[in-house]
């Protein structure tokens, strides 16, 4: 079996750095907090390079699918500068969970308004200017991202400094984003409400250190602090609050003749099975018909449906604190195995925040060089998080602090990903890359004691990506 040469080669006759030297510098320079492309490449190429990336993402059931395309160009300027411009377009379609309705026994069921399919396009433009100094790399990035219901303008600066004969690297980063968020109100959609316009901003600070431990091992460690302020709620999502629902009120039950019942769950009456009702209406295509025929639009003109649904079914808007502080620690170890010409990359990430969400992420990736430019990389990732203190699948009453959400992303859960990457380099100037991933999120995958959440939010997704990079 032919293997990649594990030697430090020198500049070739065209004046370009060899692949091995590129990788050497990349290994020495690739640190957290640095512009991804510069960090991965680790040196300033004297060639113009283009990249094209295509991704297909598909969730299980009737949930969302995303198609993304990205074009990138990197151009060297003078002796020390490099600029990169990247344009990305992704199109999302499908349905997203809106609320968890209760059945007659009081058990929550996720409601996907499939008759109101999402169709959203996101356009992202980023420009990066990098300066390669003597033993340092400084990058400044400006970016903008626009969707039908979201706009983000962001910037960041990162600095990496080599010390200790390039055996140690220190990195510092700062990022800022100003975002506008609203819901793209569609009167043809049931349960949607008029747009609200809000702002949020985010500031990130990171510091990192990388160290060559021995001839085969590199260790990296970084800490990132993230502060988010403003409207951090989801304008589309709602929660059921039993005490706020007319249909669950003891007074109504008594009025209907159930004088000896104070809780609707004791009745298990099919009339009070709201989850079953909406599920049936969706499955039969009634919701789709109402939306498509314009009846929903007409009803929205005549009545304040969000207000009525809140009163009757106890639907409350997603409401989160207007501040969030996160601390994220990342430890990365890379070790080379000569016997198999491979490298094991092991990551551990720990995050904690003042929303009560702490998480662990563990990832293993095994890069195996097969020779002739081929590389295969199987990998596995495990993620687990504790639920936010204001999360539940539904609420008996509005909590004293006033915050509540049933967004599945703030629930307690775990997720396992299986990945496989295959790449092939044609000489030094062309690389083809294929990535496949299966992601399985489950409530009972959570590490330790299970926190608020439920199997109703379990789902899977698969992702296929193809990349092509060329240098001239």
């Amino acid at each position: 079996m032919e293997r990649e040469p594990a030697v430090v080669a020198v500049t070739n006759k065209k004046g370009h750095k060899s692949e091995a030297l590129t990788a050497l510098m990349g290994a020495a320079l690739a640190l957290p907090g640095i512009n991804a492309q510069a960090a991965e490449q680790g040196y300033r190429s004297d060639q113009v390079s283009f990249g094209y990336h295509h991704t297909e993402y598909k969730e299980s059931g009737d949930r969302m699918s995303v198609t993304a395309d990205q074009l990138s160009i990197t151009v060297p300027i003078g002796q020390s500068l490099e600029t990169n411009f990247t344009a990305t377009k992704d199109v999302t379609s499908g349905a997203s969970p809106v609320v968890n309705f209760l059945d007659g026994e009081g058990k929550p069921h996720q409601f996907l308004e499939t008759g109101a399919s999402i169709e959203d396009q996101r356009d992202i433009y980023e420009g990066t200017l990098s300066y390669y100094g003597d033993g340092s790399l400084t990058s400044i990035k400006l970016g903008t991202s626009e969707e039908d219901d979201y706009e983000s303008n962001y910037s960041n600066i990162s600095v990496k400094i080599d010390i200790n004969d390039k055996l140690t690297n220190l990195s510092f980063g700062y990022g800022h984003s100003d975002d506008k968020v609203w819901n793209s109100y569609n009167p043809n959609v049931l349960l949607e409400e008029p747009s609200i316009f809000n702002n949020r901003r985010k500031d990130e600070f990171s510091i990192g250190i990388g160290q060559v431990i021995n001839r085969d091992t590199i260790l990296q460690f970084s800490v990132t602090y993230v502060n988010s302020e403003g409207f951090l709620s989801d304008p589309y999502k709602k929660s059921v609050v039993v005490d706020e629902a007319l249909i669950y009120s003891p007074e109504l039950l008594h009025f209907l003749g159930f004088t000896d019942v104070s809780d609707f769950r004791d009745l298990d009456n099919p009339i009070l099975n709201v989850a079953g009702l909406f599920s049936t209406l969706t499955d039969l295509g009634v919701v789709q018909f109402l939306n498509d025929s314009g009846i929903t639009a007409a009803l929205n003109k005549l009545f304040d449906i969000p207000e009525i649904s809140a009163f009757v079914f106890g639907l409350e808007k997603d409401n989160r604190p207007e501040s969030r502080n996160q601390i994220i620690s990342l430890l990365r170890l890379s070790h080379y195995f000569e016997s198999t010409n491979s490298a094991l990359h092991a990551d551990y990430r720990y995050s904690d925040d003042d929303w009560g969400v702490y998480s662990h992420t563990m990832e293993l990736k095994w890069n195996v060089g097969l020779g002739l430019g081929w590389q295969v990389s199987p990998g596995v990732r495990y993620y687990t998080q504790h639920s936010a203190y204001f999360y539940d699948t539904f609420f008996e009453t509005i909590p004293e602090h006033g915050y509540l959400t049933s967004d599945y992303r703030l629930a307690g859960f775990g997720a396992i990903s299986k990945k496989l990457e295959i790449s092939k380099s044609f000489g030094r100037d062309f690389t083809l890359f294929v990535h496949y991933e299966e992601y399985d999120r489950r409530y009972d995958f959570e590490l330790g004691d299970q926190t608020n959440g439920g199997e109703l939010d379990d789902y899977t997704f698969s992702l296929v990506s193809v990349s092509f990079d060329a240098s001239f």
């Binding site: 960090a39 490449q41 991704t55 990138s72 140690t168 990022g175």
Partner: protein, 76 residues
Amino acid sequence: MPKLSITCLTFALISTSMLSGCTVEKVRVWQRGHLANPVMTRDRSSAQATLEQHTYSAKESTAGGYGTGAGGCGCN
């Protein structure tokens, strides 16, 4: 914020031990061949690495930690 203090302390300890050289081999330039092997570059496609993190950040509560930079999104 005690957890912040613990994080800072952990960072200081790991950084100090990494810099102290007590467990670190003084690897000369000509001894860095294995570190130079292409397989030691964790992500062969930076675009893929960025997209992966964006996907996770849209589906999980924890986002980032791999470097500052990305803007927000209205992902559902």
